[in-house]
């Protein structure tokens, strides 16, 4: 397989995509089924060619064919195999091809899954998906082509290789996971646009896209959490979220997507909130494309940014087109989007969901504002401003807490209207739980957001517990089942609902973890062997300072012994200071890196960084951070994933 074949495959994909759109469009005009079949097959052909191009590029990466510019920039002969594969999405053009690759997988599945379904919707679904492909095909064919040959006046016998900071497993999983999420929302978007064009508001297609949206949401959630995990473990600043523009770019679609997967339940059950749902999925998809753009345009300076390039204006144009066309279609179909029923009471589950939508959108707008404020400010006032985490935290914490409260209130509301008796019966126990938690916390000395956050967490947990109890009780009244059996059958018959409740428990855990940040403590100090210092009630003694020369780096290793207030041994920590490529005659290629060591319990993390060394005098410079409750975030993440899998578990009937 030659790299030329790769370029040709991309060209053919582009050609097929134009033909597919034309063919399918003609089909919608004259109804000729043959045109639909051909259009479908052309679309499958696009996917085929993109798969081919991706495999060819992967093959070139594995073979270390440095005649291709992309291979020379992101791999070297020394790069381990797995990172040669992950180089596929490490660079700009490769990552765009990878985006296409994932979109092709999804498109293929959608086409094959729906050969006998949704016959009226499918043509426009495929057209929409193919148009998205066209956009990325234009980029990879004509603007930034992964198969571009190397252009140097010497023979490139070895590539640049992958930065050691990126050589860990999380970086292999995090981008693909995010892409699986971002790209995944194309499918519900395609269905939504198709339904708009056809004026179709029946609940049948809504059920299909709910599953797709949930799958995409799962991947996006995992991608975001993995990104935080990586930042915490590898970057060494002791945190997992910095409100960095690229982080925000993935968080915003997550917010609107979460609103969507909730709100669409209402459309399925009561055929309400049509306008909201249409807007939410359009916003989600737009934000996914916008997010892809933010990481590439150089508009925002961020830990992640790719170098500034011509991609920015092209992406912006695409985003603009999506917004104009989608909202234009919505206006055109505004009559069909009017729900036949009206919201009847503020204490109804329907209005709870409506309120939920609003809060999510507000939060999304708030993050959007904070992210773009520097750009707007520069355009309007000429001064460059940077916005830091304290700004985002100040704005978003109250909104986040309102959301947490809603998580608890929602399930306790009845459809249409919750009667007074039900209100009292449902809310008493959870509210009491919340209030007593608050009382205890205030008594112990906590104040402010910490109290609110933990109390709401208790409130929500009590709500979810109540929900499970009510369901089991209702089943046992009707059937003669043991508690366990009732629980299993109940969950099994309502996977979405109870899976969703489990996800909410995960969210509560994560909020507990977030709240722990209020108690973070840190200290920087220097130690010689035998010396000790103290942070947050722990004593750190430097037992040993050693050096080691390893395969591709040189390391100074500090051996720290940690004891607590009572003198009891807690753990040993071995943070290292490494220099990669230490023998490289070019000092700019030598890369220092702090390999941190973390001791983690549910209670807190002890986070140690070896910041610097004075080897002549045997002095180690250590930074210690004690971060309470961080583990709750990761545990919460697992629970969230588990709950989503329960919700997605397919049914047999």
């Amino acid at each position: 397989m030659t790299p030329i074949a790769g370029g040709v495959a991309l060209n053919l994909a582009f050609g097929f995509s134009i033909l597919a759109v034309i063919t399918l469009f003609l089909h919608t005009r004259n109804g000729d089924q043959r045109l639909f079949l051909t259009g479908q097959r052309l679309a499958l052909g696009i996917s085929f060619f993109i798969f081919l191009a991706t495999f060819i590029l992967a093959f070139q990466l594995i073979q270390s064919n440095f005649d291709i510019d992309y291979v020379a920039r992101y791999t070297s002969l020394e790069t381990p195999f797995i990172y040669k594969i992950s180089a596929l999405w490490a660079g700009q053009s490769g990552s765009l091809l990878f985006w296409l690759f994932i979109l092709s997988i999804y498109t293929t599945i959608v086409i094959l899954q729906n050969q006998r379904k949704h016959n009226s919707l499918m043509p426009w679904v495929i057209i929409t998906l193919v148009i998205v492909q066209i956009f990325f095909l234009i980029l990879t064919n004509y603007v930034t082509n992964p198969f571009k040959p190397t252009d140097a006046d010497f023979i490139v016998t070895n590539g640049n290789g992958l930065n050691p900071l990126l050589q860990n497993v999380t970086m292999v999983i995090h981008p693909p996971m995010l892409y699986l999420g971002f790209v995944g929302f194309s499918v519900p978007f395609g269905f939504a646009i198709s339904a708009l064009i056809n004026g179709d508001t029946s609940p049948l297609w809504i059920q299909s896209i709910r599953r797709w949206a949930l799958v995409a949401w799962l991947f996006l959630s995992m991608g975001i959490i993995l990104g935080g995990w990586w930042a915490y473990r590898e970057l060494g600043w002791g945190g997992y979220w910095a409100w960095d523009p690229v982080e925000n770019a993935s968080f915003m679609p997550w917010l609107t997507a979460t609103a969507f997967i909730h709100s669409i339940i209402i459309q399925e059950k009561k055929d309400m909130l049509r306008l909201w749902n249409m807007s939410l999925i359009i916003m989600t998809f737009t934000l996914c494309i916008f997010g892809t753009f933010l990481t590439r345009s150089g508009v925002m300076s961020s830990v992640h940014s790719f170098t500034a390039s011509s991609l920015g204006p092209i992406f912006l144009t695409f985003v603009f087109l999506i917004i104009v066309v989608s909202f234009g279609m919505m206006y055109f179909r505004r009559n069909e989007l009017k729900s036949p029923r009206k919201m009847e009471s503020f204490t109804s589950r329907e209005s709870g969901f409506l309120f939920n939508n609003m809060v999510f959108v507000v939060l999304c707008f708030s993050v959007f504002w904070g992210t773009l404020f520097p750009v707007i400010s520069e355009a309007v006032r000429g001064t460059k401003i940077t916005v830091g985490p304290p700004f985002f935290n100040q704005m978003n914490i109250p909104i986040g807490l309102i959301l947490l409260a809603l998580t608890g209130i929602g399930p306790l509301l009845a459809w249409r209207k919750t009667g007074r008796k039900s209100l009292i019966r449902n809310f008493t126990f959870p509210i009491l739980t919340g209030l007593s938690t608050a009382t205890i916390l205030l008594f112990v000395g906590f104040r402010g957001y910490v109290v609110i956050s933990f109390s709401l967490g208790a409130f929500v947990t009590a709500t979810i517990g109540t929900e499970f109890a009510r369901g089991i009780y209702a089943r046992r009244k009707k059937f003669d089942e043991s508690i366990i059996k009732a629980l299993i059958r109940m969950v099994s018959k309502n996977r979405s609902r109870y899976g969703g409740y489990v996800v909410h428990i995960g969210i509560v855990f994560m909020f507990v973890g977030f709240t722990g940040q209020a108690f973070d403590d840190e200290k920087e100090f220097s130690l010689t062997v035998g010396e000790t210092d103290h942070v947050a009630g722990y004593t750190f003694e430097l037992i040993q300072l050693s050096e080691a020369e390893r395969a591709n780096h040189y390391a100074w290793i500090s051996d720290l012994r940690v004891t607590n207030k009572e003198g009891k041994f807690v753990t040993n920590l071995h943070p290292e200071k490494r220099i990669y490529f230490h023998n490289n005659p070019d000092p700019n290629r030598r890369q220092p890196h702090s390999e941190l060591d973390i001791y983690t319990t549910m209670n807190q993390d002890i986070y140690s960084i070896f910041s610097g060394v004075d080897s002549e005098n045997g002095v180690a410079f250590i930074k210690i951070m004690v971060n309470p409750l961080v583990r709750w975030v990761w545990v919460g993440g697992f629970i969230l994933v588990f709950g989503t899998m329960v919700a997605l578990w397919p049914r047999k009937d």
Binding site: V303, N552, F621
Partner: protein, 144 residues
């Protein structure tokens, strides 16, 4: 008031509250570290700006001096174009901090020296460097 009107009133009220909240936070950040103005080194010196600011530039070659008494303290010279500025920084230095790198410092300017409490280096994760020319060095030692 019929329920429709009540509804619209509630929505308007909420939107009003949101706009108020966001604008209020934007104008009154609780933490001085919430928002900082990015200025050029020239502007900083010429206008003698004393409020919290952010500067960008390169680390002048050979200018990094680490204190003998406290390893964490260091001084260096920030170069933006032709303008130079003395910077003092007293916290853990990022791994990539060395001669010639692009940095962003945040802090305060007082009496000719910039006291930085934040120092960031441009991340090398997108390694868009030049292609490696083998003939210029021998890489055998790096092989495992």
């Amino acid at each position: 008031m019929n329920s429709n009107k009540k509804f619209f009133l509630m929505i308007t009220g909420i939107i009003g509250m949101v706009i108020f909240w966001i604008s209020w936070v934007s104008m009154n950040p609780a933490d001085e570290k919430a928002m900082t103005t990015f200025v050029s080194v020239d502007e900083l010196i010429n206008d003698n700006i004393n409020r919290r600011t952010k500067l960008g530039g390169l680390v002048k070659d050979g200018s990094i001096a680490i204190s003998k008494t406290n390893y964490l303290d260091c001084t260096f010279v920030l170069k933006e174009g032709n303008t130079e500025l003395d910077v003092k920084y007293g916290r853990t230095r990022p791994d990539l901090f060395k001669d010639g790198v692009e940095v962003i410092v945040t802090g305060q300017y007082l009496n000719g020296v910039f006291y930085a409490d934040e120092l960031q280096t441009k991340c090398a994760s997108r390694y868009e460097g030049d292609l490696r020319n083998e003939s210029s060095y021998n890489l055998n030692e790096i092989d495992s």
